[in-house]
């Protein structure tokens, strides 16, 4: 039984089909979840992809967090389900409180959080990704973090854009495979 991955679509999301392609490329099943949906359709993992949810109006992710689907995503996470937020999706997860901190404006966009949270993230080994050449000035070169339980992950780089050598890199595959493995575990536990 292959793992089913739900990919959340807000008005303005624009990386959902790339994520669907990458998931299917790696042998998973993908399904789009509309922002107005009140459930995640029983998927085994959720990806909140990149783009400009709700036009980034007011503040990136600020409006998207109130979408009905985000309640379902929060329930999925609370029950141990894996959630991956990429770029704009990472920002939605911080606005929704599924991950700590916030993303500030920059030449790119950079992760910030208060010193206590930062120390906590370091102490608990929750910084899962750092830039080798920091392109955006994020604090401590942070590129990705996890929730305390480790099942909610947010990162600024796009793994789906590095999922095949034809795209110039397949460095993102290991991350997406990890997502699919977690989804497969959840699917197996469900049976």
């Amino acid at each position: 039984m292959s793992a089913r991955v739900g990919v959340v679509v807000f008005p303005g999301t624009n990386c959902e089909l790339d994520v669907v392609w990458a998931v299917e490329h790696l042998g998973g099943e993908a399904e789009l979840l509309w922002h107005g949906d009140e459930s995640v359709h029983g998927v085994d993992a959720v990806v909140v992809p990149g783009g400009f949810a709700h036009g980034d109006y007011l503040r990136t992710g600020a409006i998207a967090r109130f979408s009905p689907v985000m309640n379902a995503v929060a329930e999925h996470a609370a029950s141990g389900g894996v959630v991956l937020g990429i770029c704009n999706g990472f920002q939605v997860l911080t606005e929704a409180g599924l991950l700590p901190g916030a993303l500030q404006k920059n030449a790119g966009l950079a992760f910030v959080c208060d010193t206590v949270t930062l120390e906590q993230l370091r102490d608990e080994d929750r910084v899962i990704l750092r830039y080798v050449d920091n392109p955006n000035g994020s604090i401590d070169d942070i590129a990705g973090i996890t929730s305390p339980a480790g099942n909610v992950v947010g990162l600024m780089p796009h793994p789906e854009r590095a999922s095949d050598l034809l795209l110039g890199s397949d460095d993102g595959v290991v991350l997406l495979q990890s997502l699919l493995a977690a989804a497969a575990d959840r699917a197996a536990a469900r049976v």
Binding site: L58, F66, T94, A102, V112
Partner: protein, 92 residues
Amino acid sequence: MRFAVRVDVTHLPGVLDPQGATVERSLPALGYDNVADVSIAKTIRLVLDAPSPDAARKQVDDMCERLLANPVIERYTVEIEPRDGGSVSDTP
């Protein structure tokens, strides 16, 4: 009572303001080389119907905490003034 509300949302000290920085770098090109500390902030204006100034203030603070500002990177100030006219619900 009806209130005119103005919310100013600014960056917390230390949070990068790339728009302000870019404007600051651009002004000398026009000859204004005596400018420093440019920052760009958001102003949100709204009209609110509430039973009292305190109630209005409480509700606006709530809006700021939940949506209008992100307390991790922003701070806000609120100005509330009584406004003449009917209630908000009366406006077309």
